[in-house]
Amino acid sequence: MQLTRRQLTGALAALPLLPTLGACGARDSDVLTVWAMGNEAASLPALLQGIDWPASAPPVSVQPLPWAAAHEKLLTGFAGGSLPSVGQIGNSWIAELAAIGAIAPVPAYARRLLDDQFGAVIDTNRIGGKSWGIPWYVDTRLQYYRKDLFERAGYVEPPPDWTGWKAALHKVKKVAGDGNFALLYPLNEYEQLTTLALSAGARMLRDDGGRGAFSDAEFKAALAFYKSLFDEGLAPRVSMAQISNVWTEFARGYFSLFLSGPWTIGDMRSRLAPALEGNWGTAANPGPGGTGSAAPGGSSLVVFAGSPHGEAAWDLVARLMAPGAQLALHEATGDLPARRSVWAEAGLANDPAVAPFRIQLERATALPKVPEWERIVTEMQIVAERMVRGQFSVDEAAKEMDARADRLLEKRRWMLDKGRAL
C-alpha cells in the first residue's frame, strides 16, 4: 500500500503547489510592463528607444494585444489580478475600467499632460470628477466624399447644413447615374447615427446615465433625418458585409460619400485606383444649422490601479507624451497626435485631407460615459436598422430604443441608488 499512498499523497500535495506554478504568470515586479494594441504596439519598441528612459528605472517591456481581443484580455487581466502597469486603452473603454476600479485616476503631478489637448477628448476621459487617462492619439469620424462627382453636381464640397447637404446629395445621385446612390451608411454600424445625433445636440442618456433619452426632440430629429436618407433613396439599405470592397464601390460611384476615421486616409492613398487620386476629399460633418459634431475617439495611456511602479509608470506616460515622442508616433503609425501643438509641428494643418479632422475635433462632443454604452448603441442600431427597413416609425423606434436602454441600465440605476456607481 505504501507506494500508492505515496503516489496519491504526492498527487494531492501537488494541488496546493499549483498556485506556485501560477506565480510564473503574476505581475513581474522587476519589469514595467506595457500592454498596447495593433500598430501602436508594433511601433512602441522603437519609440521607447527614443525617450531616454533612465537606467535606474525598471526596464520597460511591451506586450502586444490584438485589437479584436484586447477588451476581453483587459477584463480577464483585471479578474485574474494580472494587469500590467501601463496600458493603451480605447477611449470608449475608460468608463468601464474606471467603474470597476481597474485603472488609477491621473494624479495631480501628471495633470499637466492634459494641457494642450482637445477639450472633447479630455472630457471623454473625465468621469465622476476625475480624469482617468491621458489621450495618446486622437481620431474621430467625418465624411469622405468624391470631389469630382460633387463638382459635377455644382458643389466644391458638401454643404455644412442638413438641408443643403441633402439637396446636394440628391444632385450627386443624379450625376452618379442609375443604380448608384449618394452615400453609404451601413445598417450594421452605429457611428453614422450617433454622429447625426451628436450634431443635433442629443444627449442620448438622461438621469446621470440611468435612462435612455432617445425620445428627446433632438434625437428624434436626427433619427428622422437618418431615416429620410434611406427613404429618399440616397443611401442603399445594406450592411457592410454586403459591400464586398469599399474602395472598388467608391471608385465606381456606387456611393459618393461615407463616414470614416483618419485611418482611411492611408487606405485611400494606397488602395484606391490611381485614376481617383485627387478626386476625393474629407470634410467636417454637417449639422442641422451648420457644421455638426462627432464623437472623439482614439486611445489613451492609463496606469492600472495597484501597479507597484506608480510613479515610474506616470513618468513613462509623460515621456511618451512629450512632443518628440508624439511626432515619432505620428510618423510611425499615421495616428493623429493628441497634443495640438504637435499638429503644427507635423505640418498636419497643411494636409488637405487631415485638416478637416482638426476642425472636427475642435467641434466634437463626448458620448455618454457609462460602462453599458457599447451595448446600448449596439441595440440602438438594431432598432434603427429595423426602422429603416420599415418595421418602426421614428416615434416607435425612439420608444423601443429607450425601452432597451432602460433595460440594459437597470443595474446601473440600482448602483446609482446605492451610491456605488461612478
Binding site: 500500500m1 500508492t4 496519491l8 501560477g22 504568470g25 503574476a26 506586450q63 480577464t76 479578474a79 485574474g80
Partner: protein
C-alpha cells in the same frame, strides 16, 4: 478482379490526397517568400523555398516561447491526468467498495455533459483560488478526466480476477498489485491515454483562451489565433505558424497511431 482492386485503391488514394492536401499546402506555403501566396492562380509550390518565415517566427514573433508553453502545459496535463485516472479506473474495475457502482453510473451519465457548461463558474472558482492567468489554471480541466477513468476501467475489466487474488494470497498490498501487476498489463492503454490527453491538451483552445490573459503564458493555438486576427494578409507567416502549431502533434500521432486508433475503439465501441 485486379481492375477492381486498382480502381478501389485509386479512389482511396484520391480521397486521401484531397484530405491531406490542405496540410501539404500549408507546409508548402510556409516556405514561400513574403507575398508569394497572395496571387492568382494560387501557387502550389514555392518558387524558391525559403526559411525566412520560420526565422521571423522564432525571432521577431518569439514563437519558441509559445512552443515551450504548449509543451509544458501538455506534458504536465498528461502526467497529472495519468496520475489521477489510472488508479481510479483500476479501482472502479477491480476493487469492490461501497457506493462504487452508483458513483460509476453517475460518471458515465456525466460523460454527456459538455465541459463548457461550467466554464463561467470555473473561471470564478479559479479566480478565487488565484489560478486565473497561470499555467495551473490551464491544467485544471485535465485533472477531471472522466473519459480517462472510463477507458482504464474498460481495459482493467479484462484482467482475470484470479491473477489479482493470487497476488493477494501471496501477501501483496493493493498498491503493490496496482504497481507490479496491473500497470504492466495496462501499458498499451496508458500509452493511448497519454497520447490522447497530450493531443487534446495541445489542441485545446477555448479554455486557455479564457484563462490565460498574459501573452507570456499563451499556448501555441491561443497565440496563433491572436496573431491571425492581426496579420491576416501575411499568409506565408501564418502558414508557418500553423505548421509549428500542428506538426508536433501530427508527428506524435503518426509515430504512435496504432495505440491511438486502437484505444479510441476501445473507448467508444466497447462502451
Amino acid at each position: 478482379m485486379s481492375l477492381r482492386r486498382w480502381s478501389v485503391t485509386l479512389l482511396a488514394a484520391l480521397v486521401a490526397l484531397v484530405t491531406i492536401a490542405p496540410l501539404i499546402w500549408m507546409v508548402s506555403v510556409s516556405f514561400m517568400a513574403r507575398g508569394e501566396a497572395a496571387q492568382f492562380p494560387p501557387p502550389l509550390w514555392p518558387a524558391s523555398p525559403t526559411l525566412e518565415n520560420y526565422h521571423l517566427l522564432f525571432g521577431t514573433f518569439g514563437v519558441g516561447h509559445f512552443l515551450f508553453n504548449s509543451i509544458l502545459v501538455s506534458t504536465l496535463a498528461t502526467g497529472l491526468a495519468l496520475l489521477f485516472t489510472i488508479p481510479a479506473g483500476y479501482a472502479f474495475a477491480k476493487l469492490r467498495f461501497k457506493g462504487r457502482d452508483a458513483i460509476f453510473r453517475m460518471l458515465v451519465a456525466a460523460l454527456v455533459v459538455p465541459g463548457q457548461i461550467g466554464m463561467l463558474p470555473l473561471f470564478l472558482e479559479l479566480k478565487a483560488m488565484g489560478l486565473v492567468n497561470s499555467y495551473a489554471g490551464a491544467l485544471v480541466p485535465w485533472l477531471a478526466g472522466i473519459f480517462g477513468i472510463f477507458l482504464v476501467r474498460q481495459y482493467c475489466l479484462s484482467i482475470p480476477d484470479e491473477m489479482l487474488e493470487a497476488a493477494r494470497i501471496d501477501g501483496a498490498s493493493e498498491g503493490q498489485i496496482l504497481r507490479c501487476i496491473v500497470l504492466p498489463i495496462l501499458t498499451p492503454i496508458i500509452v493511448t491515454l497519454a497520447l490522447y490527453v497530450f493531443l487534446s491538451s495541445w489542441n485545446d483552445f477555448m479554455w486557455p483562451l479564457i484563462v490565460l490573459a498574459d501573452q507570456g503564458l499563451y499556448t501555441l493555438p491561443v497565440a496563433l489565433a491572436a496573431s491571425s486576427r492581426q496579420n491576416v494578409q501575411d499568409y506565408e507567416i501564418m502558414m508557418a505558424g500553423a505548421v509549428v502549431t500542428t506538426l508536433p502533434v501530427l508527428i506524435l500521432f503518426l509515430a504512435l497511431q496504432r495505440y491511438y486508433l486502437d484505444g479510441l475503439l476501445a473507448g467508444s465501441v466497447k462502451g
